[in-house]
Amino acid sequence: MNRAAAEAVLIRAGALLASMALFGAFVALAGADPFDVFYQMYRGSFGTSFSVQNTLLRAAPLMLTALCTAIPARLGLMVIGGEGAMVIGGLASITCGLACGAMPPWFVTVAMAVAGIAAGGAWVGFSGALRAYRGVNETISTLLFNYIAIALLSYFVEGPMRDPTSLNKPSTRAIPAEDMLQSIPGLEVHWGLVFGLVACVIAHVLMMRSVFGFGAAIAGGNLRAGMLCGLPVRRMMIIAAVLGGGAAGLAGMAEVAAVHGRANASLVTGYGYTGILVSFMAQHEPLAIIPVALLFGGIGASNGLLQRVDHLPDATVAVLQGILFVVILASETLYGRFAIFRPREERVVRSAVRGPTPEAI
């Protein structure tokens, strides 16, 4: 293992431990036994086969929404539109699924996935195009598009697409049970998990091992340098935004096709916002997203046991997530502070000249 990777892992692990200590102190103040809380969290997230499957179910959409931030981030774009792309992807896929009618189930699934990816990709891609050609900041525009997407969802679900039999919770009509996204054979986990894993691997190959990814890293590091190299920076921005949005749109499709079977307000899950932080914690590296998403999926899955056994409110895991997010993001500042992780050559040179650290200049 090289020193940079060791630094990343150790700083993350230290931040994780610090968060757990803070959280332990918090639940102790609330009157619970912190060690029992940690034990129940382990049981509820990875302790039994049921809880592992629950964890996997929650991790799957997080992987996809995290990619919505991670892929454009390689180009220096700060996209926070995963929530909106997921909603639009779900809406497009249910529209397509209902239109498919009596087609064979595999065809319906493929069509719904394509519709979700295309709609999510177009949704975020539009923000990318606005950035590339009009200089409209993509962070703000994707935030605005989240709200516009939610308004569109409630319009279609409560208006033109409403199933008249859905009284308390307005929903669209449901796709037939045989058209639903099935479980992976031998597991109680639907294929959305495979979508997430495959998407992370593809994104890794694309961003870390391809010419496109190399160009994106150049342009992301220094936009002007990228343009001087003759890279089609604008087109690359749009492509990255489309790919990210497509991943989040696929998460919306899985939510519709595997969980609800229909579109309603349950599509607004908050996975889009959690995905942003998952991406940051993985330092926008597609493969690192997988373990981080599993960690946060596990925290979400442990919620039920904490409520039942430790009699803690359901917001307990939200507190832990908040503490983790803040501490891990703040721990970014520790990179480069520890001399032991610097490359050997740099340490030799620096001890020779005794110059200031790059951070101090």
Binding site: A30, M78, I80, L130, Y133, R134, G135, V136, N137, T139, I140, S141, L143, L144, F145, Y147, I148, I150, A151, L152, S154, Y155, E158, G159, P160, A265, V268, G270, Y273, T274, I276, L277, F280, P313, D314, A315, T316, V317, A318, V319, L320, Q321, G322, I323, F325, V326, L329, A330, E332, T333, Y335, E359
Partner: protein, 316 residues
Amino acid sequence: MMSAIDPVADVTGIGVWGVPLAVASGAVRIGTPFLFVSLGECLTEKSGRVNLGLEGTLVMGAMSAYAISYYSGSAWLGVLVAGLVGSVLGALHGWLCSLPRVNDVAIGIALISLGTGLAFFLGKPFIQPSATKLPAIDLGFWSSSPEVRSALQINALFVVGLLLAPAIAFLLARTRWGLVLRTVGESSDAARSMGYRVNTVRAIATTCGGFLAGVAGSFLSLFYPGSWNERLSSGQGLMAVALVIFAQWNPVRCLWAALLFGASSALGPALQSVGVSSGYQLFNAVPYVLTLGIMIATSSASRRLPGQPAELTVAR
């Protein structure tokens, strides 16, 4: 976090005329928290940093105001404590973002998670009991119609906000503090060369912004909708970011923008109450489409938005 806002005032008794009345009263009632949170965000952004975490601050403020008002019987004490709690969260954001390599957008989203999580955790015991509410100024005394009277109940905090907007504009434009704040927001190098500590100024601006966001939260729980529950905020804290851009970083324009955002949120329920059953959901999106339209119309690849602080990374 983003559920629809409840119907504004029950004006069904007076027919179609209820719609403009409900929209006007909704503009004030729903607009007041928008006003405070956007003034806070405006102050923060003028210093060159964005705080996306005001949503968490708002919810935390709403919870603490309700709890304090319940225990002490004084709603105004609740407002003050909400502001102080908001300042603590603002100071946390300000301090964390002063550390090198820490991203202000990501910290903001993390603080949304932390603030709402803490508020829901600590606020569980206060969902049932009823706390002392903020008093209203009765502007509808001349009318015999109970619908009109209830629609014209104006909260004292709105009046405070009405005065605060020009006061902040004055502070920014005409005082030494405002000049320092704007210098830090326009060019941190210039501010540093003049001997000002950029990170300290930004942390103070973020702390003050947090105070105002906390007060906005106290309005939600102590006046309208006037209770504490986990569906209280409909995303006002995040919308403030859009609103400040819409207002082009001008506090007085924040006032008009907040009223507009409030009115458009009230329009849907008002139309619903007179029998329009479809399409009103789209009115909720009007402020965002307008903000987006402004950004598209005024941005270009080579130019900043008018009024935008140059150091603001998020809008670059």
